[in-house]
């Protein structure tokens, strides 16, 4: 397989240089490791997005289901009444 060099976008360089730990980047890691960590963070974020989209569709169907509508309509507010007791 041929390796192809492409310039790193400025925005990505900035992320690696600034090393935001909330993305899982380790300030003590080498630059190459930080690029790898950034890719991992991107993959995790994409996975989370896909999972949330799948959830959204499934939840929306469940919300319309007869069983859920009935369960919610008959929900008793005992837990929230005076002290809940």
């Amino acid at each position: 397989m041929n390796r192809v060099s492409v310039p790193v976008p400025e925005e990505i360089k900035k992320q690696v240089d600034n090393c935001p730990t909330e993305l899982g980047l380790d300030p003590s890691a080498s630059e190459a490791q930080r690029y790898a960590q950034l890719v991992d963070a991107g993959v995790r974020a994409m996975r989370a997005q896909v999972r949330n989209e799948r959830r959204r569709v499934a939840y929306a169907e469940h919300n319309e289901s007869q069983g859920y509508v009935e369960a919610l309509e008959t929900a008793d507010d005992w837990a929230f009444r005076e002290g809940g007791f």
């Binding site: 959830r55 959204r56 859920y68 008959t74 507010d77 009444r81 005076e82 809940g84």
Partner: protein, 226 residues
Amino acid sequence: MEGKGAGTVGALVLTNDVWNDVMSGVAAIPIRSPAIQPYPGAIRIRDIGWIDLPAMAHMPQGRLTQPLYKLTAQAIERTEDKLIDVLALVDLCCGDPLPPHSPAGAVTYPRWGDIYWVKGFDTGGQDKRYVVVSHDHHNAANGRPFLVRTTSAPKRNAQDFPLVQDGAVHTCPGELQTAQADWVEMTKRPRPDALNVADMAATAYGLISTFQLETAIVRNGGELRD
């Protein structure tokens, strides 16, 4: 929130953000006034009151009004930790699933893993099948078991609506709630009347997903499969 008693100052919503965005109902825990004596071990929130976890309910979103407080990360973590403990999620989801320990003696309480008819939560509703997901030390001592509804309606997402009973039904972990024990029909039982450990583990994964407890599981010493 609307319709609450004077002893309740608010509700802590625990379902995940996608659920709260899409669904008409949310899982909410009452926050009690400091004027009411908390039970031993209750999570206290300074100047506000205490979190009544064993009174968790599934309620229409329409009853919620404007946000009142933003709880500290520590208060939310303590609530998650208690929930993980009472639902035995680490034992069920990390490594080979282990059923939680039960107290010795006669079983006079709704038992972990068993399925019961529960009177409509407003008694006028149709009785529905619920599986008990709280461990038996809680069920025996507290009188407010945590329940998850089962449904035979097809569901698209088996992570958040796990398939159980050899694929015959789904559980609905996002509808986790507690009930007063006397609403649980202890004599007349549905068939089958229990889920096996694998089904309970699948339901536990669904609870972790719908209540966004992945980080909390790790904090409690667990490790989840990818």
